[in-house]
Amino acid sequence: MDFSFVLDPYYLGILFSGLGMTLLLALLSVVFGSMLGFIPAFMRLSRHKVLHVISKSYVELIRGTPLLVQVLLIYSMVRLPVVVFLGIDLSSFIPGMLALLINSSAYVSEIIRGGILSVPKGQKEAALSLGMNQKQTMRKIILPQAIKHIIPALGNEFVTMIKETSIFMYLGIAELMYAATIVRTSTYAVKETYIVVAILYFMLTFPTAKLMGYFEKRLSYAK
């Protein structure tokens, strides 16, 4: 096998550029997806039957269909002219990002909901018995304790997102898989390119997992 392209700064540059874009896409989708995810999470926890049903259906639908289908659907619905902004083709980026955000928010909402439900019932009762209202209870008692469970799960979601961003390659966003197609077509070293790309993905996911472990430790209470 011929790995010589790895020594060529031109090809390395293409691959690392792609890696950077992958990381960016994953970060954006998790960060903004998390913020969005609070909405269905709280809707599902609420006592209003209508809100509960709407959010439950939304989450189940998104989690029950492949990301690729969601991306293709949204891409065909969101029609934008080809505009290059900061070096990115917005007509592909925006629908793709939208799909990723919607997808991420559904998964994150379940993470948030799970985190909140994992806080022992007695905590809520203690807060209420002291005369705290629902909002105070959630903000000061439940959420701070839920975060302990939410953060590691979010880390997993981030790792998943890193891998899911490969969907963007079809839309022409220059993330890692797109970079791979460029390199493999120019060098004809198809297998070798895939091996290198796999290693690059691992370089992203492995430290993330470690970082999550670090945060998990820091978030547990003083011993």
């Binding site: 022992p120 007695g122 905590q123 009762e125 203690a126 807060a127 209420l128 018995s129 002291l130 005369g131 705290m132 209202n133 105070q136 000061k140 008692i141 701070p144 304790q145 209470y221 003083a222 011993k223």
Partner: protein
């Protein structure tokens, strides 16, 4: 003892969806400044009854009046009510992510809108009284069970409530720590605060209760009266049964 009735409970019933009766036609008067202790076998609805008093549970039938007001009325301010009726839990339920001091000041500041410094000084005063002042910056998991429960009692007390509900406060404690909690509860009695306690500590009940309420499976009150009557000459067969089961003398 001169007293007004604090709680007036009439014909309270609670039936669950599957038909089980948690409370069955319970009527009871709780007097101010008195210590009312509820005893009975498990499944007799003691905790359920207690929890209706601060609206943690709602009955399916009946009325509850607190200081003359109907607390089951949908317009009744539940959050306001809980400022006057506090609760101590079997599992303490201290907030694990806050220090002991923060546990004690949070509700004072957020609910009673006290000044932070006032809240802190009130908390410190009580902590010193029980000898736990050096623990202010510790977290609950660094304290023993007995220490945690005493802090929990202080937490409820700092709200200056009219009454405190105790839901089996020593049942989750190792035997050697029960005494310190009971001693604190005894001290509380001197303050004149109304206390309603669900417990299995018969010694304490005998000594300190103004009224004993005996409940039985199915959520009914089978007997109530002064401890000297209940413990020495119980009128109801079932009371006799229960006491002989629980008061082990070989």
């Amino acid at each position: 003892m001169p007293n007004n009735s604090l709680f007036k409970i009439e014909k309270l019933s609670k039936v669950f969806e599957d038909g089980t009766k948690a409370l069955d036609d319970v009527s009871l008067t709780i007097n101010q400044h008195e210590v009312t202790i509820i005893i009975g076998p498990s499944g007799s609805g003691k905790s359920t009854l207690l929890r209706t008093l601060n609206l943690m549970e709602y009955p399916t039938e009946g009325t509850i009046e607190f200081e003359g007001k109907n607390i089951l009325n949908p317009n009744y301010d539940v959050y306001e009510h809980r400022k006057h009726v506090g609760m101590v839990f079997q599992n303490f339920n201290l907030f694990p992510h806050l220090t002991i001091l923060e546990n004690l000041t949070l509700a004072q500041v957020d609910v009673l809108k006290r000044d932070k410094s006032e809240a802190i000084s009130k908390a410190m005063t009580l902590l010193e009284k029980v000898g736990l002042a050096e623990k202010i910056n510790n977290y609950p998991n660094q304290l023993s069970g007995g220490q945690q429960q005493r802090v929990a009692i202080l937490r409820a007390l700092l709200m200056d409530p009219t009454a405190i509900l105790f839901d089996e406060p020593t049942s989750a404690l190792d035997p050697e720590m029960i005494k310190e909690v009971l001693l604190l509860m005894k001290d509380l009695i001197q303050t004149g605060i109304t206390m309603i306690i669900v417990t299995h500590e018969m010694g304490f009940a005998r000594h300190f209760a103004d009224k004993i309420v005996v409940m039985d499976k199915g959520g009914k009150i089978i007997e109530e009266g002064h401890p000297s009557v209940i413990f020495n000459e119980p009128k109801n067969e079932k009371t006799k049964q229960f006491l002989s089961n629980i008061l082990t003398s070989f």
